[in-house]
Amino acid sequence: MHIHKFEQFWIKLSFVLIAFFVATVVYGFVAMDLKVIGDHATIDPQNLADTKFGNPGVREVTRNGQTEYEVYVQTIQFAFNPGTAQPIEVPVDTRVTFYITSPDVLHGFDVAGTNLNTMAIPGQVAKFTTIFPEVREYGIVCNEYCGPAHHVMEGKIKVVPKSEFDKSNLVE
């Protein structure tokens, strides 16, 4: 085979580039806590009422001696429950784990302008943990087409100082 020596050099450089990309991703994943969601659990989308999704909202849990929060969200055509009618309120600098599923069609759950971005698929529970670093409001958009009124589907996350966090809104 006849490969010009410039092209051979370029092919080597290409491998370097590919290896560099893989290395950055692995480094980010391992050392910088930039994860993606994986396989968590399946659920019967027609019977969410009997699960924690039947009473969606923010729950307080204690894990490893720390107070953490769990947020159960149902994405429905065309709202986040909770999120749309009332904002999801969580304290700043605290571990918050989201559990998201859909009883009807595919939706997206994207906290606009952040790296929190996941699909809500009927039958699957999307689970991820995060820490909100600053006190502010975030918008949530559905970023997967979910039907004729897809574009009105939005919600809000309200991150408040720990001292102002109102525990009366928690669900059991």
Partner: protein, 185 residues
């Protein structure tokens, strides 16, 4: 083959095309690159779009709000919803009279609807726009919307009949966050 040799006018055209068709794109990309790096690295702490640009929020009405609050015949919005299905969009409105003691006749009328597309739907065109009932009353109406449109403002009037006189009051009701839901039926 293409025309013999490109003559002078073609050469000039090519020059213009290259400047406009390739020059502008290169400029756009360079500006993007410059701005990205400039903003992210050199203006890090400046918080470019300060979040305080408070849009003076006109508070709209929603489910649970009271209409004609300063009248004696105040009414409550107990349902406000856009029901969406593949074929049609419907606007559903439920109103309850607050005062269950008065015996006078009350007529509640949705005069017109202003939609997001700036269209106005007139109430009188369709019989279902007018709802008559005596108090205490709970009324409910549904209206077909143009596909894809959402009401932003309601014009409602009530007529209170007392003996021989009737008082008519109208109110403009800006709506806030109407829940849009898939219509299961």
């Amino acid at each position: 083959m293409y025309e013999e040799k490109s003559d002078n006018s073609t050469k000039k055209l090519v020059k213009i095309l290259v400047i406009v068709g390739i020059g502008i794109p290169v400029l756009v990309e360079l500006m993007t690159l410059f701005n990205l790096i400039n903003v992210q690295i050199f203006e890090d702490e400046k918080d470019v779009n300060s979040n305080d640009t408070n849009v003076t929020e006109v508070r709209g009405f929603g489910e649970g709000d009271t209409l004609f609050a300063n009248q004696e015949s105040a009414v409550l919005i107990d349902q406000l919803r856009v029901k969406v299905s593949a074929q049609e969009w419907r606007f559903a409105l439920g109103i309850t009279s607050m005062d269950s003691t008065s015996q006078e006749k009350l007529q509640i009328r949705v005069d017109s609807l202003r939609l997001q597309s700036k269209k106005i739907l007139l109430g009188i065109d369709s019989s279902s726009w007018e709802v008559r009932q005596t108090v205490p009353a709970q009324i409910y109406g549904e209206w077909a919307l143009p596909n894809g449109d959402i009401p932003t403002k309601l014009f409602v009037s009530i007529e209170q009949q007392e003996a021989d006189s009737t008082t008519r009051v109208s109110q403009e009701i800006p709506l806030h966050k109407i829940p849009v839901r898939y219509n299961q039926e």
